[in-house]
């Protein structure tokens, strides 16, 4: 449990449920044809959606930072931690698939370069978090040895 009284199960489950419900999915990038048929305000609204999604991702990373404070206490925590790490992996794989699709569209490249760049960076962050969580929640023998060494350097 952390300082706010939230258990690891509650904190991690929140992320898992949201991810499985598709709440973290990136908004669609409009194709040329769709964009041509849209009025200006509708395009702006799509930009707003992108900004909102980007902010949601940054807030999610803040949640990840908080979840990093938990340690695995028992088998139930271990199961949740595995689900949690798998969820992060699924999220970035899904994002990577969308990125790959969008980045092949020339029109999208020309008009939505910032969206694509945001997406690329977010995917990299997800990978980094996944690696960090793996090593925090399921430390290898080397990780444990390093922890002991670090403790002696304080």
């Amino acid at each position: 449990m952390n300082a706010t009284g939230t258990t690891f199960k509650e904190a991690a489950s929140d992320v898992i449920v949201n991810a499985n419900s598709g709440n973290y999915n990136a908004p669609a990038v409009l194709t040329k044809e769709e964009k041509m048929n849209h009025l200006l305000d509708e395009i702006s609204s799509t930009n707003r959606e992108w900004r909102a999604w980007h902010k949601m991702m940054l807030d999610l990373f803040k949640e990840f930072d908080q979840i990093s404070n938990y340690s695995i206490e028992d088998e139930e925590d271990e199961k949740i931690a595995r689900d949690f790490i798998d969820t992060i992996q699924n999220l970035y794989k899904r994002l990577a698939a969308s990125f790959s699709k969008y980045s092949k569209m020339k029109f999208v490249q020309q008009t939505s370069g910032k969206c694509l760049e945001d997406m690329r960076l977010i995917i990299k962050d997800f990978r980094e978090y996944q690696e960090d969580f793996k090593s925090s929640f399921f430390p290898t023998k080397e990780d444990k040895e390093l922890e002991e060494e670090l403790a002696g350097l304080l």
Binding site: D65, N69, D118, L121, L154
Partner: protein, 147 residues
């Protein structure tokens, strides 16, 4: 909280400052992240890399200069001592640009902790002060009492 930095951190920070075009916002974004944060916020800030007793080491995300949010910003490797209320800056690296670093290898933390310990014992750590009037971050090497 008293903010301190190792020589390595100051070197890296000043290197980034020299690349004004890419990293010119660093003073402002660094100050915004740390200057007004309370002790509890500072203790809990960032991704926890290591926790031992009254010490916590973390990787803290700092906003970028390009408007792409924290993802393309900087990462600060820190160490907090809750007992002495000292906050140590150990390393900083950008995620994009000339000095971009993709990730942080925890093995490096060993080196940074050794530096921190040696410099604290020798009294050569830098004091970090946030100057709101001049909008600068001052890092001054002065003899500090080891706690």
């Amino acid at each position: 909280m008293e903010f301190l930095a190792t020589e390595h951190f100051v070197y890296r920070y000043r290197l980034l400052l020299k690349k004004r075009k890419q990293y010119g916002c660093i003073d402002q974004n660094f100050r915004d992240q740390f200057a007004d944060a309370g002790n509890e916020t500072l203790w809990n800030m960032g991704y926890q890399l290591f926790l031992k007793g009254m010490f916590r080491s973390a990787k803290v995300r700092i906003k970028s200069c390009s408007g792409h949010g924290d993802s393309s910003g900087f990462r600060v490797i820190s160490l907090v001592n809750k007992e002495t209320n000292r906050y140590y800056f150990l390393d900083i690296y950008p995620k994009t640009g000339k000095y971009a670093q993709a990730s942080f290898d925890k093995q490096e933390l060993k080196e940074f902790l050794i530096e921190r310990k040696e410099e604290e014992e020798a009294g050569t750590l830098f004091s970090v002060e946030f100057d709101f009037e001049e909008e600068l971050v001052h890092m001054v090497q002065k003899k500090l009492v080891s706690k």
